[in-house]
């Protein structure tokens, strides 16, 4: 058997094993996510300080979600924002919760497929927060984390704040019984 044939057999074996393992892992994740129930989803939520989130978000947006342009807006200092959201760890907790929020929207979609529009918007918002957090991680690596908080963290917090309100609104429209549980978790 030539060396090239040996390389070929090894390459095919690695290729098949890798593809099968990746497919099996993600297929199992997909099955798990489609079998999730309400209680399991709620358990995945990480506790965040709701009043601090609202304070940071409402510094740049109003209750309706519009950008504030008055003189009293955008007054929080980076250090204050960092303290209120619990630093990078606090933002990561929000990022994890974003994934849960999308799953919660999908849970409603199981009953009402038309909710795909809202679910897709929420999903995109969650991805946007991930993008903001990616910038923050880069800033952390270059030692400019505090300065980056105003630029990236505050919009991320505002997006998260709006998302939680949208999910709550979605559940209110659906008249779902578990709304009280959701309010306490978010």
């Amino acid at each position: 058997m030539s060396t090239r044939t040996v390389y070929f057999i090894v390459a095919v074996a690695i290729f098949i094993l890798a593809l099968t393992a990746i497919a099996a892992y993600y297929y199992r994740r997909w099955q798990k996510s489609s079998q999730k129930n309400w209680e399991r989803l709620l358990k995945r939520l990480t506790a965040v300080d709701r009043s601090s989130i609202a304070e940071v978000a409402l510094d740049i947006i109003d209750e309706s979600g519009r950008r504030r342009k008055d003189e009293a807006s955008a007054v929080l200092e980076p250090s204050e924002i960092s303290k209120l959201v619990g630093g990078l760890e606090g933002l990561e907790a929000m990022e994890a919760n974003c994934a849960v929020l999308v799953d919660l929207a999908f849970y409603v979609q199981q009953w009402y497929p038309e909710a795909i529009v809202v679910a897709e918007k929420l999903r995109l918002s969650a991805r946007e927060i991930e993008w903001h957090l990616g910038r923050l991680r880069s800033a952390q690596q270059t030692g400019k984390l505090e300065g980056a908080f105003t630029m990236y963290a505050q919009p991320a917090v505002a997006t998260y704040y709006l998302m939680t309100r949208q999910v709550l609104a979605l559940y209110e429209e659906g008249n779902l019984a578990m709304l009280a549980d959701l309010r306490s978790a978010l």
């Binding site: 070929f8 057999i9 990746i22 740049i60 950008r67 199981q110 979605l170």
Partner: protein, 259 residues
């Protein structure tokens, strides 16, 4: 040309299965949702019938050229089915989700070089250069197809987009078959096509059996209906549209702040 009873059995089973699947697609109105998949199955049927008549009435050379030219058409049709499955999964609102476009580029940028590398490493023993090209070409296309289907599973889970029931079933069938096909084509390359073609033929029979099993799976799964869903009340639909508009303006506002 010499064909065994098993070859004719595969032809007969293939003809019955493709016809049945086409009827399922028509009766259940699935062809509206999956036009490319329907065209793919139709091309399978045409291929089966055409090759039967060429094998009975044609020469060995005419069968060879018919087989491989129809094989190229089959690969193109499979790629169109991949596109259709991606389209159903990653266009939830009618346009490609913007956060998956970059991932597609990465997927293609990784999949094609990997498939090229595997095909390049293959050194099949064959009497004709054309046979070497065919074996390598088959290995390349099966590797690409399997990567695209596994990539679809990974992307869908990562970005959090759900599969529709029948999309999942078609993708599972074609994905599993593609992975088996990589093994078969690797076997073709390893054993080659010398004067004795027994191993090559046996491997081809395994591949055909795997594909016919896949078609049987589609017949059952596409006959079944997707789980029932509830209809959204009109007042709730209006509220959802309002909510959507709100989210749209939220995103515009946040992006504006970013600048």
């Amino acid at each position: 040309m010499h064909l065994t009873g098993l070859d004719f059995l595969f032809w007969a089973v293939g003809f019955v299965e493709y016809t049945t699947l086409l009827l399922v697609l028509l009766i259940r109105r699935r062809f509206r949702m999956f036009p490319m998949f329907t065209a793919f199955i139709l091309s399978n049927l045409v291929r089966t019938v055409a090759l039967y008549f060429v094998s009975v009435y044609g020469t060995k050379a005419s069968y060879f050229y018919s087989f491989w030219s129809l094989g190229i058409l089959d690969t193109i049709m499979q790629l169109s089915v991949v596109y259709e499955m991606y389209s159903h999964t990653f266009r939830p609102l009618g346009t490609w989700a913007r956060d998956v476009r970059g991932a597609f580029v990465w997927l293609v940028a990784i999949s094609i070089p990997v498939a090229v590398a595997l095909s390049w490493l293959a050194a099949p023993h064959a009497r004709l250069w054309m046979q070497v090209v065919v074996i390598r070409g088959n290995l390349f296309s099966s590797a690409c197809m399997s990567e695209f289907f596994v990539g679809m599973v990974v992307l869908a889970v990562k970005v959090g987009l759900p599969w529709k029931t029948h999309v999942a079933r078609i993708s599972q069938g074609l994905g599993v078959y593609s992975i088996i096909d990589v093994l078969i084509e690797a076997g073709h390359s390893y054993f080659g096509v010398g004067r004795n073609t027994q191993t090559y033929t046996a491997l081809s029979h395994i591949r055909i059996a795997a594909y016919l099993s896949c078609v049987a799976y589609w017949i059952v799964m596409l006959w079944r209906n997707a789980p029932d869903t509830r209809r959204l009340p009109e007042n709730m639909r209006g509220q959802l549209i309002q909510l959507q508009n709100l989210v749209d303006s939220d995103l515009v506002m946040i992006r504006g702040r970013e600048r």
